[in-house]
């Protein structure tokens, strides 16, 4: 662990929201280290706390949300000691940038594209208007906008969805951030554009050397781009490992469920797999393993005590009692055995999985 270059380190993070006089715990004691230059994907279903988790890095929680415990270390500083917006402005956008889900609404409709890019350059790099314009046009061409100079003065409504997402990425990269958080960057785009945008982010990450954090529930994207994967469930990271670890040697029953639900693995004639039940309410305190009520593999202890993070290998950790030496031996479900071969078989027919 020591020899790795950790750029961002989260320790024991707890985030609570006040919703209609009730307290909701969105993030429950999450610790995670991000290695510099790597692509980390955070996967999980809606409401598992993926977005909230990454929002704490830039102090972008909604007003009713609060970090009640934990530390986030970045460049030798604990970001959680920041109180004012002013302190955050050094980090937000400048060192940690975010790309949001919906490019159609992420841009101000009544400001020109050029204005919205050069604004950031002027602000964070103290450049003059002309310099900023020059740099903005370069960035625009870099993210794949043709005739960037002419399109500089156009408005967002004159751009297509994919082009707008390119612009959003250009804005995010305008200050050469250390970390780029992509909050479901391709969900609102159609499949062909998705592949282009993902490839673009990947290329830019190599070129600019930033660390990428993907938030997604699209396992296809994960398989395609991620170095490491964190699986989140009910406000906790329940499994963490390299993409190979997660796809070919998953250990947590929830990860099994997720992988089994890949529609690509469905067999003709049989029903697609779905995880039964619903996630637990985060308003109440969760006892034991949060996934236990929905799991086919739950043990008695799962309902009693929360499992610790078990170490599977140097890179692979999972939070399930199944890894305890005393636990009975359980095989992962049949659908995801030999996942490697199945996926290879699928990708040989084409599709974005093959691009890796």
């Amino acid at each position: 662990m020591e020899n790795k270059n950790i750029i961002l380190s989260v320790k024991d993070l707890v985030v609570k929201f006040k919703v209609r006089d009730r307290v909701l715990t969105a993030i429950r004691n999450v610790s995670l280290d991000f290695e510099e230059g790597k692509v980390v994907a955070i996967v999980g279903e809606s409401g598992s706390g993926k977005s909230v988790f990454t929002k704490t890095f830039t102090g972008m929680l909604e007003v009713n949300g609060k970090v009640t415990n934990g530390e986030i270390w970045f460049e030798g500083e604990n970001l959680m000691t920041y109180k004012t917006d002013k302190e955050w402005l050094n980090i937000r956008g400048k060192k940690i940038a975010t790309v949001f889900q919906d490019p159609m609404t992420s841009l101000n409709p009544v400001r020109t594209i050029g204005y919205q890019i050069s604004e950031v350059i002027m602000k964070h790099q103290n450049k003059s208007k002309e310099e900023a314009k020059k740099e903005a046009i370069e960035l625009m061409s870099r993210v794949g906008i043709y005739n960037a100079e002419q399109r500089y003065d156009e408005y967002p409504f004159m751009y297509s969805g994919g082009m707008r997402q390119r612009i959003v990425i250009a804005i995010a990269l305008a200050c050469h951030p250390k970390i780029l958080v992509c909050d479901e960057p391709t969900t609102a785009l159609d499949v062909t554009i998705q592949a282009q945008i993902i490839r673009l982010i990947k290329e830019l990450a190599e070129e600019y050397g930033f660390t990428t954090i993907y938030i997604t529930h699209d396992l296809g994207v994960v398989a395609n781009v991620a170095d490491n994967v964190a699986v989140m469930y009910a406000g906790q990271i329940i499994e963490y490992g390299t993409v190979e670890d997660i796809f070919y040697d998953p250990r947590h029953p929830y990860t099994w469920g997720l992988l089994s639900s890949l529609p690509q693995l469905g067999e003709k004639g049989s029903e697609l797999f779905a995880i039964r039940g619903t996630p637990p309410s985060l308003f109440e305190e969760i006892k034991g393993d949060a996934f236990a009520p929905r799991s086919d593999y739950s043990l008695a202890i799962d309902f009693e005590e929360e499992p610790p993070m078990f170490k599977v290998s140097d890179t692979h950790f999972a939070k399930t009692w199944l890894l305890d030496p005393r636990a009975p031996k359980v095989d992962k479900p049949k659908q995801i055995q030999n996942l490697h071969e199945k996926i290879l078989a699928l990708t040989s027919k084409g599709g974005i999985y093959g691009e890796r």
Partner: protein, 491 residues
Amino acid sequence: MKNYIFSRVIKSIVAVMVVVSIVIVMLYTMIPRYKIFEKDEGYKKMSGDARTTYMYSRYEELGYLDFQQKSEMCSNASDNYEACMVNDSEELNAVISEYENNGYVVDYLRNGDPFVYHDYNPLQLIWNFYSKLIQIDHPGYVKDENNPDIERKYYIGESPNGMPAIMCSGCQYKYQLYFNSSFPFIHINAIHFNFGISYPTNEGMPTWQVVSQGQGSQVSTEQTFPSGVVEKSPLNQYTCQYKPILDTIDQRRFTDNYANCQSYYESPSMINTSYIFGIIALVIAYVVAIPSGIAMARNKGKIVDKAGIVVINFLIAVPSLALIFFVRQIGSIFNFPDRFPILGFEDIRSYIIPIIILALLQIPSLMTWTRRYMLDQSNADYAKFAKAKGLSQKEIFTKHILKNAIIPIINGIPSSIILCISGALLTESAFAIPGMGKMLPDAINASNNNMVINLTFIFTALSIFSILIGDLLMTVVDPRIQLAAKGGKKK
């Protein structure tokens, strides 16, 4: 764009015409017509045939019906005028039955003279109104038996202030187009709206002149007349019309027959009075409401916002009439007049309280909307992204949210300008301010039909065109909006 504006203007004109037509039909067919005489003292003193003839000629003048007395009937319908003028003659009876067949009602005066009339149907009423509405001046206008050789031509001359002007001989107006220092600087006399004669109030004056002419006593200034005479006089030479018979003063001043001029008055006209109050109040309302609405949105849920909501709720909850009298009462404690005419136009104190009230009436809704638009926009995704970009809260508000939130507010400004005249109705009445707002209820009370139609026309035209202007303004501030004559077609 041009096509769009053109089609919108056409639609607006049609809309105004429809509204005015409905008002005309309602006024003429649904309100008992004898009401117009309620304020007419002369009519009350009359009796017998004089009263009957007066009544029907009034009705005819005001456009209710076509009224013809014996002499008119005979000259219109008979070849033998002399024979026709004898009561009970064959000729006259033939004429009467001819009129009867044409749908006229026949009646007899006490002296035995017959007369006929027939009410106009709604279509005729509307046609009569619009066919006379626009009067275009032309060199053939003047028909004066004493002056048959009048030159008929347009020419470029010099107006009293030394500026060139397009002038006319033979027209109704001498100055067809001229420039001077009063708004809107270019003035045209060639085209006039004719909304009929005001009756029974301001009897005999064209209604347009009633609302647009200055009020109070006349103001004389030193001026040079065409003859070279320099005299103090209140006359406004630009408005001079043809006058068939000149008196000695006219002969001394003028070299031609254009001596029938309007005058300068010390106080502004009804339209201008309303506008003075309305515009000042409006500016105050915007200056107060928009910054406070923005401040409320920026401090949502905090003390500023809560205080603002209390103020808004108070102003909205109190009925406007109550608010008017309440503020007026407070004003009189501080020695402000509670009626406008007490101190009149010259004294600034006459204006303060009505303007405060007018502004107060508009502030709550403006504040609410500003706050709402700002909040809507600050929840938009682009605002969140702007935050993620690392912009400060202040930059997000001023550079991004404000520009979006201001769009609907700008769209509403022209309508507010219009509303400030028609909305001033209560305030003007409460303070007896001689403006247009007060004029409308006065005209309705006095059954001054032409005045009601005229004001309806003004208000409707202003509101419909203000919406058009609002939409055009919107294209300036919102790049997404491009006006197209047909839906969806760009440019």
